[in-house]
């Protein structure tokens, strides 16, 4: 069993290059939303957790692809979950936008303290008070399921690696490593976006939050629309 397959390097590079060309548009709005919600707090740990969640999901999907060796079979089975992830992402972005703007009196989605009165508000605050850097991990886990062309392409390669592997176990491992490398490759882009949004001279500038709110609302609605049409 060869532990170093050129395919891994190919998909590490693919994650990096496609990340700049594609993830910016797909995951970019989510990363921008998460960064804006941090409002000046340290972004490294939350974004590390978000990316770790995403990569764990990719890696697990890669393992399933490698085990079955069939992209189309697995893809058809997870299509409903992906649709749900897309709609969830849209709703999450809209809630974060409304909370950030103050139009929805819930405090920031991740981490603000707010004096709750209603039942829903209390529940929401409980959710957000896991204070709440840890919440970025499940968000990443779930959003790793977002339907995305380059992720599909990497999964296709994972399935191919599984199909060509002599044993199921080797297929699983190869599929997982392909997707892990792809996921790692996409991280620099998303960190860069997070860092751009968090630049010091932008902090506490109300205008950027207003513009950000409007953009996030548009993107959230677009995600939901895409999810419904998926």
């Amino acid at each position: 069993m060869s532990f170093i397959d050129p395919l891994y390097l190919v998909f590490l590079a693919t994650g990096f290059t496609v990340g700049f060309g594609h993830c910016v548009g797909m995951c970019g709005p989510i990363v921008v939303s998460l960064s804006l919600n941090l409002k000046g707090r340290n972004l490294y740990l939350p974004h590390l957790l978000y990316n770790a969640g995403r990569i764990i999901t990719y890696t697990l999907l890669g393992g399933v692809m490698g085990a079955t060796g069939s992209f189309s079979m697995v893809a058809s089975n997870i299509a409903g979950i992906q649709q749900g992830a897309l709609i969830f992402a849209g709703i999450m972005i809209i809630i974060m936008a409304l909370a950030m703007s103050g139009w929805l009196p819930l405090g920031r989605t991740f981490g603000d303290h707010y004096n709750p009165e209603g039942f829903v508000v209390k529940g929401f605050q409980k959710l957000s008070r896991i204070d709440t850097v840890v919440a970025y991990l499940p968000v990443g886990l779930l959003l790793g399921l977002l339907p995305c062309g380059p992720v599909y392409t990497a999964l296709l390669a994972a399935a191919g690696a599984g199909m060509n592997a002599p044993t199921t176990l080797e297929g699983i491992i190869k599929g997982m490593v392909v997707m892990f490398c792809f996921g790692i490759g996409t991280v620099p882009t998303l960190f860069l976006i997070a860092k751009l949004v968090d630049m010091g001279w932008l902090k506490n500038r109300q205008i950027i939050y207003r513009i950000g709110t409007v953009l996030m609302l548009i993107v959230g609605v677009y995600f939901i629309y895409q999810g419904l049409m998926f």
């Binding site: 496609v18 060309g21 910016v24 970019g28 062309g149 392409t153 932008l202 500038r205 513009i211």
Partner: protein
């Protein structure tokens, strides 16, 4: 001072969005990617030098996320190595998606592959058939989602 900060914030935001747009889309002009193959209707042919390469994708209509069979037929002398084809989108970078083709006799080569779905809704794809030693032919066609 405050107004300067606001203006620079707005400029930054729009610059960021422009960067996003520029990076998300390939810089190839639309004319270079005009559809030259009605893959839903049947076979398509393109020249490579003095020879002809024919591509057929089954089943039809050509649908994303399904297993597809790509059949390439070459006229003239068989190449030293089997041809292969690379699938991609003109408008979006999708990562390497290569279909290896195996000889099926009489200049016919077959291979299985999948055209993945792009969330943007764009449906135009290409199959770049590479014949080692002879050249390549780029078939541009629409798929069904």
């Amino acid at each position: 001072m405050r107004q300067e900060i606001h203006i620079s914030s707005i400029i930054f935001t729009f610059a960021f969005l422009l960067l996003v747009t520029a990076l998300s889309v390939n810089t190839v002009s639309a004319g270079a990617w005009a559809i030259n193959c009605k893959a839903h209707d049947g076979k398509c042919s393109l020249p490579i030098g003095k020879e002809t390469v024919t591509l057929e994708i089954m089943p039809r209509p050509v649908t994303a996320m399904l297993d597809l069979t790509f059949t390439v037929t070459l006229s003239g002398k068989p190449p030293e190595q089997a041809p292969y084809l690379d699938l991609g989108m003109p408008a979006m970078k999708m990562g390497p998606n290569r279909v290896q083709l195996k000889p099926a006799g009489n200049g016919v080569y077959k291979g299985k592959g999948v055209i993945v779905r792009c969330k943007s809704g764009r449906r135009t794809w290409f199959a770049n058939v590479v014949v080692p030693g002879a050249g390549e032919a780029k078939f541009v066609f629409d798929v069904v989602y």
